[in-house]
């Protein structure tokens, strides 16, 4: 058994056990990749491996201790990665949290046990085991309660992805906690270490506790941010949906009016016996319904729908919308992305045009064409006055900033999926959004 000062240090098997239980705790919180039977096998193997590694660490000289810990962390990481339906970054993130939790629990248990050992002189084997069960049980019970309260939310299981920066922060916190807590254990003569065993235990437990709390707080804050982003985008979708609903209402009203007109005309026609007059009426009716003929037949039905919808808004605001588009070029692009690209681009353009007082200056032009093996999408609109660009994106002058900001960012996101680029510029009084997508 290893010794700190004159006192025995944490038995290595304990460390292995806490590492393993911590893994188990985090694995239990998330969606699994494997069947329960396989998880039992994987976890049994990892338990044996962790115990073997920890025993080896105990035998080997202090120099190899660091290496041994890295191997142990590697085993924890692999178990989480194999069992949970996680990408590597997220498995790494959970692994760091599990590791610090393990260090803390092992340290806490041993410190408490040692305290009671001295105080009441209770040295039996059985007491040691009972202590282990009580302390582990309580610590893990509390942690499980805290974590599951958070993690059981649908949202965290499915939507959380960990970025490389987030993993970086977590590793930094974990590393600092780990190094500081074990400083005395490796080298007793720094300002932050001690050579008396009780103090060494104290330092270790408290720093590990600090590390755990830090990680927990970081995780909680990160989760809040993700939920907020999620809510914002849902809000955005709802806003769009509502606009579409209002649009459909208007369309239905127009159709209803037309229906009543037609009904009257048919009544008149029934009564008319003169063939020439009848023909004249028919011509008139034909002329009347011509407006309802789909104006946009580009070869891509999604683009047609978007254009038709937006053209009605344009018509309502006296905006002259012209469009030359080879829709067949867009057939390899997903419906959602076509809606995002054209819907947002046109919404932005329309918002800009409505602000122009002179109606003949309200001009929007769209082209979709093929050029040098690229799909070129161009949305241009006339603007009055000056337009401010910030980071290549226009700064909106409208009050409704909340939804507006999403437009161009969403376009960019959609376009990037196809390896495309967007470019925004102004030329004389024209705002130009150009999108280039490799064919």
């Amino acid at each position: 058994m290893n010794v700190v000062g004159m006192i025995p240090d944490i038995p290595k098997v304990y460390t292995a056990l806490t590492e393993w239980i911590s893994c188990l705790l985090y694995i239990s919180l998330y969606k699994k990749r494997l069947k329960n039977k396989d998880i039992v096998i994987v976890l049994s193997i990892s338990l044996v491996m962790l115990i073997v590694v920890q025993i080896l660490i105990g035998i080997m000289p202090t120099m190899c201790w660091m290496l041994g810990m890295i191997v142990a962390i590697g085993i924890m990481f692999s178990s989480i990665l194999v069992c949970c339906d996680f990408p590597k970054l997220k498995a790494g993130y959970s692994c760091v949290r599990a590791f610090i939790l393990a260090e803390f629990t092992a340290s806490l248990e041993w410190q408490l046990y040692y305290y009671f050992l001295i105080k009441f002189n209770l040295g039996s084997y059985w007491i040691q085991i009972i202590f282990l069960i009580i302390v582990f049980g309580m610590t893990y019970g509390i942690v499980y309660y805290l974590e599951s309260r958070r993690e059981n939310r649908e949202i965290s299981n499915n939507f959380f992805s960990v970025t490389i920066q987030e993993l970086g922060s977590v590793i930094t916190i974990g590393l600092v906690a780990f190094v500081m807590s074990n400083l005395s254990y490796v080298y007793a003569y720094t300002p932050f270490s001690s050579d008396t065993a009780t103090e060494v235990f104290n330092i270790r437990t408290l720093i590990d506790f600090g590390g755990f709390v830090f990680l927990y707080a970081y995780h909680a804050q990160r989760e809040e941010l993700h939920i907020k982003a999620e809510l914002d985008s849902i809000q955005n979708v709802l806003h769009t949906q509502y606009a579409q609903y209002k649009q459909s209402r208007e369309n239905m009203d127009t159709i209803n009016r037309q229906y009543h007109d037609l009904k009257h005309q048919i009544t008149v026609l029934r009564a008319e016996s003169n063939q020439d007059k009848r023909d004249a009426y028919f011509d008139e009716m034909e002329e009347g319904i011509k407006v309802f003929e789909a104006q946009y037949k580009t070869g891509n039905s999604v683009l047609d729908t978007v254009l038709t919808g937006k053209s009605l808004i344009c018509a309502k605001h006296d905006i002259s919308l012209t469009c030359v588009a080879d829709g067949t070029l867009l057939n390899a692009i997903y419906v959602m992305d076509i809606c995002t690209i054209f819907g947002n681009a046109l919404d932005n353009a329309i918002e800009c045009e409505i602000l122009i007082p002179e109606k003949e200056k309200r001009l929007i032009h769209i082209t979709v064409s093929s050029k040098n093996n690229f799909i070129l999408i161009r949305v241009e609109n006339y603007f009055d006055g000056t337009l401010y660009l910030q980071n290549d994106l226009p700064v909106t002058t409208k009050g409704d900033k909340k939804y507006h900001g999403y437009g161009i960012k969403s376009i960019q996101y959609s376009v990037q999926k196809y390896g495309g680029t967007i470019s925004i510029s102004t030329q004389k009084n024209w705002f130009e959004l150009k999108i280039l997508i490799p064919q």
Binding site: T322, V324, E360, K361, K371, N373, G419, S425, L436, P438
Partner: protein, 237 residues
Amino acid sequence: MLQIAIVEDEDLYAEQLKKYLYQYGKESNEPIEVTLFSDGEEIIESYKAQFDIILMDIEMRFMDGMTTAETIRKIDQEVIIMFITNMSQYAIRGYAVDALDYVLKPVSYFALTQKLDRAITRMKKRVKKYITISTSSGVRKMNVSEIYWIESQGHRLTYHTKQGEYEATSNSMKEIEEKLSEENFFRCNKGYLLNLQQVNGIQDGYAIVNDKKLIISRARKNDFLRALTNYVGEDVK
């Protein structure tokens, strides 16, 4: 002098357009000459690429605007064709004849001149430019748009062009880059200066020019894509 043709079978519209065009010419200090045709067939008869811009009605009695534009494109790929129409459902197919803009009837002076102005600005950008380089076999004059890319190896520059490869020793890469700075060339890595006009695709970090792959340096990838988008997006036809 800008040569503009109006192909329109309704005299009233034709006269109005003509008036608008002359007014635009006066306002923008651009000498303009307008020729009127009353049908597609009429302009085809004697067409010899003499116009810069053609304003054309789509619905005409004998030869409609689309067919006329198709015939004209076979002879002249450079002319700007702009439809004047109340049938936007036909004009939407303008891409087939490289007519990427149109004006809706009834024609508003503002919309017409804005669209003309943009077309003319873009047209002026594609004027042919030449550079001269001295090679071992003498001085050569080269159409800039026919250069694929320029490659530097040590002190030599190799021009990869439609006509073949030429080696020149007179300029350094930096000098030639400055000389062509207005001409949509892009230094995609240390050794290559490529003509954006000739880029036919991008594939995992390579630009495809004349069926060859040129590596784009990682640091310049975003700038390259933006430059390419801007260049391609400026095309008028």
